[in-house]
């Protein structure tokens, strides 16, 4: 079953913050976050491994709570370039490294 992301869509002004959540019904081995602009390939943002880690670079960070099977992506002081659709990709372990992608969150940053 596909992970559920919330919110489905969010509109921000430049400089505002946003949080995108990803929730799975299955135990997770790792969570991968991607941003996809219209007509382009998904671009890798970061990967979080089980262990409750939190990572970040620039003004984008993320956390992973393996007990709750949830991950959150934090965008601070948003820029126009942050606009796009954000997907979490989840790996549940096993022999394959396939990712099951979430429902997606459309983020629009306005001037």
């Amino acid at each position: 079953q596909q992970p559920v992301q919330s919110p489905q869509a969010v509109i921000l002004r430049e400089g505002e913050d946003a949080v995108i959540n990803c929730s799975s019904s299955k135990a997770l081995y790792s969570v991968h976050w991607y941003r996809q602009k219209h007509g382009e390939a998904p671009v890798f943002l970061m990967i979080l491994l089980k262990g409750g880690e939190q990572k970040g670079h620039d003004k984008i960070s993320a956390s992973f709570n393996e007990k709750k099977q949830q991950s959150s992506l934090y965008l601070t002081a948003s820029q126009l370039s942050y606009s796009g659709t954000y997907f979490c990709g989840t790996r549940t372990g096993g022999a394959t490294n396939k990712l099951i992608f979430g429902t997606g969150t459309l983020l629009a940053v306005q001037p």
Binding site: E40, A41, T96, K98, L99, G104
Partner: protein, 114 residues
Amino acid sequence: GAGVSQSPRYKVAKRGQDVALRCDPISGHVSLFWYQQALGQGPEFLTYFQNEAQLDKSGLPSDRFFAERPEGSVSTLKIQRTQQEDSAVYLCASSLGGNQETQYFGPGTRLLVL
């Protein structure tokens, strides 16, 4: 270095035609994945290779879909007797393999079946 490349970028096929989509992964990447992305949806897993071995093909929607990676580098996804519901963007991704899980995506092939 070069990223994942895919060709063609766009393909229009008449229903019933066969199509072949090519993926060139990042040099040295052991793992290769194919995903299908419908409009407005997230990518959905089709199949996975480790070197030339196809380890998981659980996501292939029917026996009309076939993928190969004979020499462990370039991969081809073939769709036989295309149907309108096959219209989608087909994404290829590669990763180093082992503990290096990060998947890097190519630009995709946009397939339209008329």
